[in-house]
Amino acid sequence: MTASGVSVRFDDVFKAFDDTVVLAGVSLTVEPGEIFALLGPSGSGKTTMLRLLAGFEQLDRGRLLIADEAIEHLPPARRGVGMLFQSYALFPHLSVAENVAFGLKVRGGAQGGTEARVAEMLDLVRLSGFEQRRIAELSGGQQQRVALARALAPRPRVLLLDEPLSNLDPALREETRADLRRTVKQTGITTVLVTHEQEEAFELGERIGLLNEGGLEQVGEPAELYRDPASRFVATFVGRCSVLAGVVKERHGGGELTVRIESQPEAPAWRCRSNGELAVDDRVDVCVRPESVKLDSGDGPGLPGEIEAERFTGSNSFYAVRLAAGPTVEVAMPGTAAGLSGACVVRQLAGELPSAFAAAESGP
């Protein structure tokens, strides 16, 4: 079952629709057999990248390569790319088996071979026995699996997944996500996934490319994006974080800094880390993850504030703490941290270094 994957390369790809630049010279290499997730907000250009690769849009400049072979001039039918559409795009007038067989018949495969491949694919997505079902008779999750089997049946070189789970309800989404990853890894095919959901990208993607306004903000493994964001945008888009304005007081080795939180001149300075070139007295934005700080009631060392709201999510309680001079910090505490209310202090957890970036023009 396992196929040898091929590389996919975007080389200085530029695409505009009328006057709107959607991709401004993006370069990216997806390694053979890798599951690569393109993550980003609406309009960031991630779907355009997928559609360019599939051949549904033509690029304005740059090159697209699959297995080091330029494909930008090829029509979709000849790119060897299988695609799972957000809406699945299953052919409603055909049965499950006919849908899966469509790409095989188009290529003029022998009858016996086609049937065997259809059976193999339906077995892969655990839908054996559903061959004669109409599409309308299937649940959302089953339709998604048929679409995956159809995309994989002609043995494409690359698999493209366009928001593959967005049409499923939350409960089914989690189960299907694991299924999808298992199936794709089983085939060994190079896969490019587009999603706007961080959780989906983190669980499915071995590496993630975070897009913003037509450019790649950061490419890396999920943990890298979360723990070591390259920009304020990455820090705020991936996971939750509160942004506090500060001033660099001291520089240390390894990109570490001591930052005084601007609104709290009396409070202890914070230890942060930075990827950029920051100098002493530079103004910075400190991105604080809720789980990298803790809350203590009453006085003590830390940033003094007042608990404004509590949100209980089961495993954690999230507190919105209004600091004395204005900004709000979100703090995650395990379980129900009963008894916390009113005045408190926010403290940095040992070993958890928030990221600091050169201050944005506007406020947080």
Partner: protein, 562 residues
């Protein structure tokens, strides 16, 4: 050829395709209109001298021409009002009340929409004409009444009878799409029934009523059968054009054609400007309010009886047509009711090749035009919706244009454009040949198939075609195996309507037919002229049966979309 070379050639051809189809449609639809306008100014007509505005000057100074324009306008306005006065209450009656036999009665009331206008017109003639069944019946009862079904009021009566169906169907569709929760909300806020009607129901019905108004007004503007049969000396623009042509005043006919086309365009623009709701969908969907149940037995019986009487009155002309088709020649003179009935006319019609020929002509020409209109419709809709932009909009406009232009105008325009042999300017001699009528039918079928196919394609997820392409399917395979099977209901609905309409076409046929291509409608007119009323009625019934059969078959296959 290298893969790269093949890959580059295909996009070039693809980018040219919309322009090629657009060029064909412009030649077929727009060009004849330009030719007729040009010839009205004396430009391009063989031996016509130089450009001149003489014919236009003559048009603007002749009272009969102005009268025809004015009559066309007010007849259309009054026809629309009369059709609304009948159709809207009927729509409410059948959509909002649970009366016994509602489904069957509701369908019977809509039946005239499936019948060719000419059939309705001659059915009226046989029932309410000077020596029709109604006049004879009243005279037998000793009532010394005599009337002539002629002039403006006769035209209005026939229009109201044949066009109320638009308001009836649009009203029912609009009401069935309304959300009952809005009415319940109004009730809970204390609104009375009349307040709910005028402040909730009718405002939300506006797009449907606006659509029916536009359809009725434009149909009336281009109506030919009723003014031709019942008009007498009362001429509207369509009959004025044909009269000018028959009188040999070709230049004046072209001027009248141009003026009627301008009037139609102006009316369309005005109606859209007056009511922007014409472009709106019928609003939010929801569960329609439950139909009102009649609680007492008396109310139920009364409603059912009233409904059946109404259906009887509406279907009486067609019943009369059937009766007349059973009257053998020269057997009915002064009696109130035909003394002899039989199938002589049908025997005559079916046993003679010459008699059958018009029916076969109508069938093949309507079928050929419909098939061609479907092919052009699918190509234009795909290219238009995929390409978008200027060529996309132009393709859709060209497909829709014949709807806004009266059939008489197109017939004259085609006759003008296709009577000259000048291939270098796109003109060929087709008038007098086998091809001119199917071509004219094709032009008139385009908006019917196009509207349906455009709507069907818009509802089709474009990702389906992309999915087929990503699986390796080429354009032709994608169309044949994915697009067409999924578009089937829309194609069948549009094709069915086009076929039925062309089967009974009279308005273009009367301008362009030849003896060899004469359709049923022309044969009906000829039979009436030589007093063969039984044969004319038998042809009418044949047309009615063919249309009804096509309607039922297609409605079934189109999933009730007709």
């Amino acid at each position: 050829m290298s893969a790269a070379g093949a890959g580059r050639k295909a996009p070039r051809l693809r980018s040219l395709m919309p322009w090629l189809v657009l060029a064909f449609l412009v030649w077929l639809v727009g060009y004849p209109l330009l030719v007729v306008a040009a010839e009205a100014f004396g430009i391009g007509s063989p031996g016509g001298g130089g450009p001149t505005t003489e014919a236009f000057r003559s048009f603007f100074t002749r009272a009969d021409e102005w009268n025809a324009m004015w009559r066309t306008l007010w007849i259309s306005v009054l026809s629309t009002l009369a059709a609304a006065a009948i159709g809207v209450p009927l729509g409410f009656l059948f959509e909002r009340n649970e009366i016994p036999g509602r489904r069957l009665l509701g369908a019977l009331v809509a039946l005239p929409v499936a019948l060719p206008p000419l059939v309705g017109v001659i059915a009226f003639l046989f029932l309410y004409g000077e020596s029709g069944l109604a006049a004879r019946g009243l005279q037998t009862l000793g009532l010394d009444v005599s009337w002539r079904l002629t002039g403006a009021w006769a035209i209005l009566l026939v229009h109201a009878y044949s066009m109320y169906v638009y308001f009836y169907l649009f009203t029912r569709a609009g009401l069935s799409g309304q959300d009952g929760a809005a009415i319940e909300a109004a009730q809970s806020l204390g609104a009375s029934r009349s307040q709910i009607l005028f402040r909730v129901t009718l405002p939300r019905l506006r797009p449907a009523l606006a659509g029916a108004t536009l359809l009725t007004f434009m149909t009336s503007l281009g109506s030919f059968s009723a003014p031709y049969i019942f008009g007498g000396g009362f001429r509207v623009m369509t009959t004025q054009i044909v009269a000018s042509k028959l009188n040999g005043e070709l230049r004046m006919a072209y001027v009248e054609t141009t003026m009627l086309a301008l009037l139609a365009f102006a009316s369309l623009l005005l109606l859209r400007k007056i009511d922007p709701g014409l472009d709106l969908a019928s609003g939010a969907r929801g569960t329609p309010p439950a139909r009102r149940r009649l609680h007492t037995r008396g109310a139920r019986v009364g409603a059912a009886s009233g409904g059946w009487i109404l259906a009887g009155v509406l279907l009486l002309p067609h019943a009369t047509l059937i009766l007349m088709s059973l009257v053998p020649p020269n057997t009915w003179t002064v009696e109130a009711f035909p003394p002899v009935l039989g199938l002589v006319n049908y025997g005559d019609l079916l046993s003679s090749t010459e008699r059958l020929r018009p029916a076969l002509n109508s069938i093949w020409m309507a079928a050929a035009a419909t098939l061609a209109a479907v092919v052009v419709g699918v190509m234009a809709a795909r290219l238009s919706l995929r390409r978008g932009g200027l060529p996309g909009r132009a393709l859709e406009a060209m497909m829709t244009l014949p709807w806004a232009i009266p059939g008489t105008v197109f017939a004259l325009a085609l006759a003008a454009a296709m009577s000259v042999n000048a291939p270098w300017v796109g003109r060929f001699v087709l008038v007098g040949t086998l091809w001119i009528l199917p071509l004219a039918y094709l032009v008139r079928s385009l908006p019917l198939t196009g509207r349906s196919i455009f709507a069907g394609l818009r509802q089709l997820d474009p990702r389906l075609e992309e999915a087929a392409a990503s699986l390796g399917a080429g354009a032709l395979r994608t169309v044949l195996q994915i697009v067409l099977p999924l578009l089937r209901p829309a194609v069948i609905a549009g094709a069915g309507l086009a076929f039925i309409t062309m089967l009974g076409d009279f308005v273009t046929s009367i301008v362009l037919y030849t003896y060899d291509t004469r359709p049923i409608s022309i044969e009906i007119q000829s039979s009436l002229r030589i007093q063969e009323t039984g044969i004319a009625a038998a042809y009418g019934v044949l047309l009615m049966v063919l249309s009804a059969a096509a309607f039922i078959a297609w409605d079934d296959r189109a999933g009730g979309r007709l």
